[in-house]
Amino acid sequence: MKKVLSLVLLVALMGTLFTGCKKDDQVVLNVYNWGDYIDEDIFDIFEEETGIKVNYETYATNEEMYTKIKKGGTQYDIAIPSDYMIEKMIKEDLVEPIDLTKIPNYANIDTRFKNLAFDPNNAYSVPYFWGTVGIIYNTNIITEPVDSWNVLWDEKYAGQFTMVDSQRDSIMVALKKLGYSMNTKSVAELEAARDVLIEQKPNVLAYVGDNVKDMLISEETAMAVVWSGEASTVIQEYDNFEYALPKEGSNIWFDNVVIPKGAKNIDAAHQFVDFLCRGDIGFKNADYVGYATCNTETMKLLDPALMGTTYAYPDDALLENFEIFSDPGDFITEYDRVWTELKAK
């Protein structure tokens, strides 16, 4: 018993060792964001203006971020999840309410992007970037115009395109092709989607993640399902690429800034959210990241040539059948089953 006690004491002692050396004189804001999704220079500007230092950490997927915050023990003051994840986090009480009166620059946010279904009154989140999922293709190789998901089932392009190695995004493509909602909760529709994905599989070059840009540039693949920001990066550097928004519809997504539960510096976090909503800071980020900003002041600073492009600021008419992902709750296990069946075949 004594041994156990001393062990417990030892662990407790070690705990105090680490907390003891933290300085209290400066507020440190813990920002948790997607990798490569902010211009890190703005942290210096923020520190200069407010005296608040930023401690920056990154994640690769919404789920990774969610798992870390859900399991507790973290002290992130800022996180930037996507739509369906915000919905889930609100449901599970993992985010702090945001006091919009403390964020005067919230007025800069385009009203089109306020009060969306996943956070009806923006009580918990403030828009950051938005974008779509579509098809990027190399016009030197794919000479016929692309406007539909059906090209990914066309035998003539066998072995020339990649899909996304992500369950919901790839299943979304199949659901939309079949004319179903990408938020379906029907097992029959999901299985129909699985069947067309299995039919497509022999023709898929690979299911890929972050390396898709390199694959496009090195002509490893001629066509790929990508997020609009990736398309924007490639197209702005190479003339021989186009980005198509499929007419059957696709995913339109939003990444909003939230304050996770467990945040220690709520006031500083509000200051930082307001800072992000400033036109000039938004411009620095938009310029660096390449995704579409939700900020009207930032849009005024951007290159006018970007307006109306499919990959950055498409016409509303093109987005007619587009949907936002919603949190499927426990039904996610059905998506997982269907995806595993596809990958096990």
């Binding site: 789920e63 990774e64 990649t162 890929v208 709750g329 096990a344």
Partner: protein, 278 residues
């Protein structure tokens, strides 16, 4: 007393980083959580793992891991023998050359293979220079095997090499004096004495090969799921830690069983068994 005290830190280490984590994984695998946050003890995670689709994933992983281990063995054993027979001065250098690539990040080395095997990669460049048609090397089972063999080969060579160099030379001389030819000496003396090294090498290759998810993601192009990918997906995408833990436990059990079988095969004398090495 001193002996007892000095073992304290190790016991602490084993408790903190081996026993407690395994118990936690086991604990997770034995419960299911409901959407309202309540949980109950159940075997359902394990029964679910025996669904044909998961069995298919497991079978494919085992098949590829066994293949990779066999290839590593057939390349690695002669390699270790060549190294062990080298002049001592060159030997150190040669072993070092063998280990140097491992100083580089594992991911980088795997990415390098992507540029070598790619459609416009180095290999296809050579092929087209020779006037031969392009070949789709990447995103195939062969590419995954290559990636595994390349990454894990040193783990096979080094233990065998160590056993071979430490072998009592007088035994070999005795065998030769008694009239054994090279083949007999190898089959009757050298090979049986090197079994512990082989067992150690086999387990050090087989274990990472059966559980990897990075190599299959990159070189298989996500076409097929291996058991490592399945576990990763449960933890990072689905957030079903319970099922993920159950699959991880099954994988651990499988490795344990295969190691036990290998030890049986590895000889009756406990000193000849791999136990001493790992």
């Amino acid at each position: 007393m001193i002996k007892k005290l000095s073992s304290g830190p190790y016991l602490f280490w084993i408790a903190m980083f081996v026993v407690i984590p395994i118990l936690m994984v086991f604990g997770f695998s034995m419960i299911t959580t409901n959407s309202d946050g309540s949980w109950q003890i159940t075997f359902s995670n394990f029964t679910r793992a025996f669904d044909p689709i998961y069995i298919a994933v497991l079978a494919r992983s085992l098949k590829i891991a066994v293949e990779a281990t066999l290839i590593c063995f057939f390349i690695g054993y002669p390699m270790a023998m060549i190294l062990a027979k080298m002049n001592v001065r060159f030997r150190t250098f040669a072993v070092m050359m063998f280990v140097v690539p491992m100083w580089m990040n594992f991911l980088l080395r795997t990415y390098a293979w992507m540029t070598i095997l790619g459609k416009n990669g180095v290999l296809n460049g050579i092929l087209s220079f020779l006037g031969l048609p392009q070949v789709q090397f990447l995103y195939s089972e062969g590419a995954v095997l290559l990636g595994m063999v390349y990454n894990f080969l040193p783990f096979m060579v080094l233990p065998i090499y160590t056993v071979l160099t430490k072998m009592d030379q007088s035994l070999i001389e005795a065998a030769e004096d008694l009239g054994g030819n090279k083949k007999i000496v190898f089959l009757k003396v050298i090979f049986p004495l090197s079994v512990p090294g082989i067992l150690s090498g086999v387990s050090m290759v087989f274990m990472p090969a059966v559980s990897t998810f990075v190599i299959s993601n990159l070189l298989y192009g996500g076409q097929y799921m291996l058991i490592g990918n399945l576990i990763e997906q449960q933890f990072l995408v689905i957030n079903d830690w319970n099922f993920g833990s159950a699959v991880a436990m099954i994988l651990m059990l499988l490795i344990l069983v295969s190691m036990a079988i290998m030890n049986r095969v590895g000889g009756d004398n406990p000193e000849e068994r791999g136990v001493n090495l790992w």
